[in-house]
Structure formats: C-alpha cells, structure tokens
C-alpha cells in the first residue's frame, strides 16, 4: 500500500529529533541522498493506525528557515517549494522543552507557511528536572496547534502523537508575521508566478540569495531580477523577521513558562565543562579518549575479524570441493569470495569506531572537541569538525570521507576529503606487519617498548603528519574564497541513547558494505581474471614444463603445485603488467613481483600479503606468515645477487603503501562526495607523486 500521508520532522539541532524518528519508525527506514547534493535524507515508514500508513522524513536540524549550510538548506528547499517530491502534508515540530524560546521562533515560521503542525515537546522529563513548568493548554491556544509532550528516548508520548496524526489536524488560525506588510516586494504577483501556496512562502523565496539551489533557471532569474529591482537586502529583512518573532514568542512564554533557576542539573553541567573544556586538561582527556578508542578498535575488533576470515576460508573450501572444477569454481573461490571477505573483514572496526563517534556525538562531547581543536586544525586548512573524519580514517577512508559532510565550510570540507586517505587505514596494517617483520628485529627497547611496535607507530605518525602537511599545502594553493565562521552550540551533556548508537553502527556498516563493497568485489573479480588468465598457450607451456620435471625427476606433480602457481602468475596478464611497470618502480627498489602486488592491491591494500604468498609459491589457503617471510628474505636479484628485500627496499615499500592511493573504493567515494573528476584525479595523482618521490628518496637515502 502506498503511504497516504507525507510527514516532515523538523526542529532545532539537539532536540532529540532522531530519537523521535527512530521511535516512530523503528528500523523501517532508509538513508539515501537527495539527488545532486551530498546530504543524506532519512525516510521512514510510520504505521499510524490499522491500514493507515505514512511516509516520514527526518530533516537535518536547523535554527531557522534562513539556511547557511548544506544541511540547513534541505528543510528550506522542501518547505518552500510546493513541487518538491517531499513537500509534506503535515509537519511534526520537535522542540526541546528546556529551550522553548528559540525553538518556538522556528515553529512560528512553519505556522506562517500554513502547514498543519503538531508540536512535540520533547525531553519534557528533563525540563521538569530543571524546574521548568509549561502551561500546555495556554501554549496550544496561543499557537493554535495541538501540543504533545514526549520523551522520545523512553518512547513516552509516541502513541499520543500517532493518535493526533490519525485524527488529522488543521492549519493554525494564528499568523505571526504578516508577510505582505513590512515588505516592499509584490509578493502576490510572485506567488502566482511561481505557483506558491502563501505569501510567507513567497517571501522566503525572495530572502534566499546566498544559497540558491533552485534548479529552475526561470525561477532563479525572476527572483534575482526582483531583488535587483527593489534593491532588496535579505540579511536585514531576515534579522528583522527573527527579532519580530522573538518579541511575539516572548509574549507567549511570559504566560506559559515558570522557571526556577539554579538546579543541581546545571551545576553538574558546569563541572563537566570545567574539566572537559579545560585549556590544558581538556586536551589531555581528549587524547586519552582517542588512545582508548584505538586500543579498543584494534583489540576488540580482532576477534570478530578472525571469525569473518575463518568463515570466508570455510566457504572457499566448500566451493572448491563441492562445485565442479572449472572457471565458475575458481571465479567464486578465488575472485568473489576473497573480495567479499576483503569487505566484511573491516565491518567490525567500522562498527566499533562509529559506535564511539555516535556516543561522543550523543553525549554532547563532540562539540567540545570541535571547541578545543578548531584553532589548531585551521592552521592546516581544516577545522574543528575535521577531527572525526581524520580519526575515522585510521579504520577506513570510505566512511571517513562520507563523515566530512557535516563540515559547512566548503574549502575545509574539500581539504578534509583530500587528505583523509593519508591516515593509515586498517588495510595497511597487515602490509606493515609483514614488511616490518622482514627487517626489524623483535627486540625490546628501554625495557617496555618493542622495536617493531615502535616502527609501526612511526608509520601511523607518518600518515598523520602527511595528512596535516598536505592540508597546509592545499590551504595555500586552493583558491576558494569563503569566509570561515566558528559559531557552534555546545549542547547539554546527556547519557548516550544506546538505541541511537546501535542504529548508527548498523547504518554506517551497511553504507560501507554497499558503497565500498561494490567496488572491492568488482575489482577483486577483475584482478582474479588478470591473475588467472593469459595469452593462449602460455599456461599450457608452464604445465608442460613441470610435467617434464615431474617425470624426469620422479617428483609428484602435487608437490610442485606452489611452483606451478607462482610461474603461472608470472605468465598471467597481471604478471605481464607487473613486468611492464618494472622500469617505473625499479628506481624505488621494487622488482616485477612487487609490481604485481601493487597492481592487485588496488582492490584493497591487504591483498598485498596474499599476492606475495602466491608469488612465492605458498600454495596453501592459509599461508604461514613465517614461511612467507623466509621465502621473501631468500629472494635475490638474478643479476646482482643482492637481496630484494633489503632494509632500503622494505622501507621504501612501506612509505609507498603509506602514501599511494591504492584503493579504488576511496577513489569512488571521493568522486561521489565531491561530484568532480577534477578533485578525484588531483587526489589520486598527488598521492601517487608523493608516494613515488618519497619512496625514491627513502630507497636512495638508506641504501
């Protein structure tokens, strides 16, 4: 059945809108992008009564209908354009009962737009605890709309809200700002010209000249001409609009609110800020929290990651033994399943990381982080909100780049996206561990630290320094003029809503699996093809050669399996490519074998380890790390006889993996988020150049 009613959920930020949305819809929701812009919309289905369903859309929080960021533009666009696909029949306005004044200003705008509105007074329990009493009947009367008190976290008031929706509501008889009175522009003419519903809607269309996303060129032209003709200064009018509404709201609240100040609640809040926002201890605590998060991600996620790896190799085993031998069998076992495993193995880390971020956001701590970090980050072309994408980048750049959406400032957002892949993601970890194990002794330093561990830490530090260094350079060279403001609300501290945290973890993991998953699986299949096929006759020659060896030396073919596999890889398309790029990577100290691994790493960097195992003829499914290391260490240059994996080459290779953007999923997500090939290619090319130059210097400096 098609939903018969469209409801928009609107409110200020931090009013518990998402909690109410979750309470109304359950997990019956999906996240999608508004066409053309990268702001997520969350649409859900709500069953109001038997046989009565509705579509409900969760709008980004906004303080007014005068948008200043990409997020805020969404409610503006939807509510001021009657032809918009999500133009609602009804609005649920979510207000923080502790903070009524500011909330009601936006509400009066909605009432003036003549929408049927229900006011959901959320967090009513906290208001009571803070000594705020609200005269609900008086409020209903003064606003001319129904009011329902809710506590969305505890799902109190949800049924009452649904009941009001079912009964149906009319348009308020009240009008706050007479749009036609103060304004010099002929609104009535505009109203019919643009097919708008009322004069305030027309006025809002005239106001907006900073963020014009109107796709209709005609409409844009009409409005621009109008502003020009009347010399219309939107900023002044918008300010007057707000101040007038504040006056009206103050008059209503005088009779509605009864506040007793100085509660214990407030004292606790202030104490928390004294510590968490302290100019010295605040930073210590923040870095302490970061440390705990990293520890948790890497130790807690290890167990489920191993389980996922086991599951994939179990499935590979089943496929190999149960399906008839042939191309389909190999495609599944060597192409699709490893690709799938390469995706799923990162899910635990991503889920944990976004769980932590959701907790920090839900408790109100994230705003304090932005407060503490903003100035520091700005020196590097970033801002306080870039902290989260950068931290997320240590798990995976794909969700990290997506989380840059909350950054309003265009240039900072772009720079954040460009530099995030330099942070050492978890796919680099197995590569680092293998390579460090080759040349760094397992030795204690200063009694507590391990030399290998220190080297690994150095690689993470290198990634971080490269990210902020690149940010600094981009800040200087990118010519985007846009004034950067720092005005941010610090919401009250709250206990996290575990349901919201769980929903976020689920949604982010799902987005990662669908977004990065598609690319990784597709690339895995392509790479499988390149590694398993070759020009006609070449594989047959290898088979023939080993058949001969087997017969002459009286060795079973089975024991030669590893060598056959290695030689076939050398002769395959992937091997041909690896050899053809050898001249380009030889100055870095890499041979064609490493070339093959660099090519296959484009699916995901950790594929390096598996490829090395195949190249060195370790035929089994689960190659032994130590065995692989021994094989790699034995390998020598056929001409000079020098070790391939010398100290210089290994470090050169690690630096290469630290800087090169060998991850097609990241390329795809950057393209999606910037909607521009220019920035996508710039990111890829600049990281490639950086990787090559840095590796070249390392290789020559160390050898």
């Amino acid at each position: 059945m098609k939903p018969s009613i469209k409801i928009a959920l609107i409110g200020n930020p931090n009013t518990g809108k998402s909690s109410l949305f979750n309470a109304l819809t359950g997990l019956n929701q999906k996240i999608a992008n508004f066409p053309g812009i990268t702001v997520e919309k969350t649409v859900g289905e709500i069953s109001i009564a038997k046989d009565f369903k509705g579509e409900i859309i969760d709008m980004p929080g906004t303080y007014s209908l005068f948008p200043k960021s990409k997020d805020e533009a969404i409610p503006y666009e939807v509510l001021t354009n009657p032809h918009h696909a999500h133009y609602p029949n009804m609005v649920i306005f979510v207000a923080d009962a502790c903070n009524l004044r500011r909330n009601l200003v936006l509400l009066t705008q909605l009432i003036d737009l003549k929408f049927p509105v229900i006011l959901a007074l959320n967090m009513i329990d906290q208001a009571k605890a803070q000594g705020i009493e609200i005269d609900i009947p008086y409020l209903e009367n003064a606003l001319g709309i129904p009011v329902v008190t809710t506590n969305a976290r505890k799902k109190i008031g949800i049924d009452a809200l649904k009941k009001k929706i079912e009964e149906g509501i009319g348009v308020s008889a009240e009008s706050f700002l007479d749009a036609t009175k103060p304004v010099i522009v002929p609104l009535e003419v505009l109203k019919s010209q643009l097919h708008l519903c009322n004069s305030y809607q027309a006025l809002l269309n005239v106001y907006q000249d900073t963020l014009n996303n109107n796709k209709l060129v005609d409409k844009k032209k009409i409005l621009a001409e109008l502003r020009e003709h009347y010399n219309f200064d939107s900023g002044t009018w918008q300010r007057e609009d707000l101040l007038f509404r504040y006056k009206k709201v103050n008059a209503i609240l005088q009779n509605t609110l009864n506040v007793q100040v100085g509660s214990a609640f407030k004292r606790t809040q202030e104490r928390l800020d004294k510590v968490l926002g302290h100019p010295f201890w605040g930073y210590i605590i923040f870095f302490g929290i970061l440390f705990v998060i990293f520890q948790a991600i890497f130790s807690w996620a290890e167990y489920p990651m191993h389980k996922i790896e086991d599951l994939i190799s179990w499935l590979q085993g089943i496929t190999r033994t149960n399906l008839p031998k042939g191309v389909l069998n190999e495609l599944l076992a060597e192409g699709v399943l490893p690709g799938l495993g390469g995706v799923l193995v990162f899910v635990p880390q991503i889920a944990f990381l976004f769980g932590f971020i959701a907790v920090m956001e839900d408790t109100g701590y994230l705003a304090r982080v932005a407060f503490l970090m903003d100035k520091m980050m700005r020196r590097f072309g970033l801002n306080g909100k870039s902290v989260i994408p950068l931290i997320s980048g240590t798990a995976c750049a794909v969700p990290a780049i997506m989380s840059a959406r909350s950054i309003e400032h265009k240039k900072s957002r772009l720079i954040t996206i460009l530099v995030t892949p330099l942070m050492s993601c978890s796919a680099r970890l197995p590569v680092y561990i293998l390579l460090i194990g080759l040349v760094i002794p397992n030795q204690e330093v200063l009694g507590v630290m391990n030399l290998r561990g220190l080297t690994l830490m150095g690689m993470y530090l290198l990634g971080f320094l490269a990210a902020i260094g690149a940010g600094f350079i981009y800040k200087l060279v990118l010519n985007i003029k846009e004034k950067q403001y720092f005005i941010l609300e610090m919401p009250v501290y709250r206990m996290p809503n575990w349901r919201n945290v769980g929903t976020t973890m689920f949604q982010k993991s799902r987005t990662f699996v669908t977004e990065a998953g598609k690319v990784i699986v597709a690339i895995s299949v392509i790479l499988w093809f390149l590694a398993s096929f070759s020009m006609p006759g070449r594989f047959a020659a290898v088979d023939k050669k080993y058949q001969k060896i087997s017969v002459e030396g009286n060795i079973s073919l089975d024991s030669l399996k590893g060598k056959i596999k290695a030689e076939k890889l050398e002769k395959s398309f992937a091997g041909i490519i690896g050899k053809s790029i050898e001249p380009a990577i030889a100055p870095l100290g890499f041979d064609w074998k490493i070339g093959i691994a660099i090519i296959t790493s484009f699916a995901a960097r950790e594929v390096f380890v598996g490829t090395m195992a195949t190249i060195y003829g370790l035929g089994s499914d689960k190659p032994d790390f130590n065995q692989l290391k021994n094989q790699m260490l034995k390998d020598r240059n056929p001409e000079t006889g020098a070790k391939i994996y010398s100290f210089a080459t290994v470090f050169s290779l690690m630096v290469f993996y630290a800087f090169a953007l060998q991850c097609m999923s990241t390329v795809a997500v950057t393209y999606k988020e910037t909607a521009s090939w220019k920035w996508t290619l710039l990111q890829f090319a600049s990281m490639a150049v950086l990787a090559w130059v840095a590796s070249f210097l390392v290789n020559h400096g160390l050898s």
Partner: protein, 84 residues
C-alpha cells in the same frame, strides 16, 4: 538584585573567562543572523564560561544556551561589561 553595566562599549574578544555583560550590537551580518537564531540577541545578558588557549574560541552562556564563538566572530560583537 539590580545589575549595572559600564557605559563604554567594547568588543567581546577583549573579555575573559568569568566576565559578564550585555550584547549591544553584532556588526557582521552573517554572524548576527546566526547568533540571533541561536538565541543570542542584542540586549541579551551573557557570561563567559569557557575559553580555549589564546581565547580562541570562547564559550558564552546566554539565554540558557552555551554557544562557542571564534575570536574573529567575537570581534564583531559589541558589548558592555557588567560592573561587578
């Protein structure tokens, strides 16, 4: 208790943590609109609750909300300091 304010108008960035005052005017149009919709209006009384290193940003409590403001923005907010 009656509260008094100094006659001299200064900018918000010159005040320190713990100082209180009243907002007279916000000169930057963008910041003005943003602050007004967050509940930070001319005539509103505030107290500086937090300050990051180099007093950039600071956080003021006004109308029951805690709002952090960068130094650049604070320079455009004209205030009168409360006489303590």
């Amino acid at each position: 208790m009656e509260v008094a304010f100094e006659n001299q108008i200064i900018t918000l960035d010159t005040l320190k943590k713990g100082d209180a005052g009243v907002i007279e005017e916000i000169t930057d149009p963008w910041a003005s609109l943003k602050l007004i919709e967050m509940g930070c209006l001319p005539g509103g009384r505030f107290i500086i609750k937090m300050q990051a290193p180099f007093r950039d940003p600071i956080a003021i409590e006004i109308a029951g909300n805690l709002i952090s403001i960068g130094r650049q923005e604070a320079k455009t907010i004209r205030v009168r300091k409360q006489i303590s």
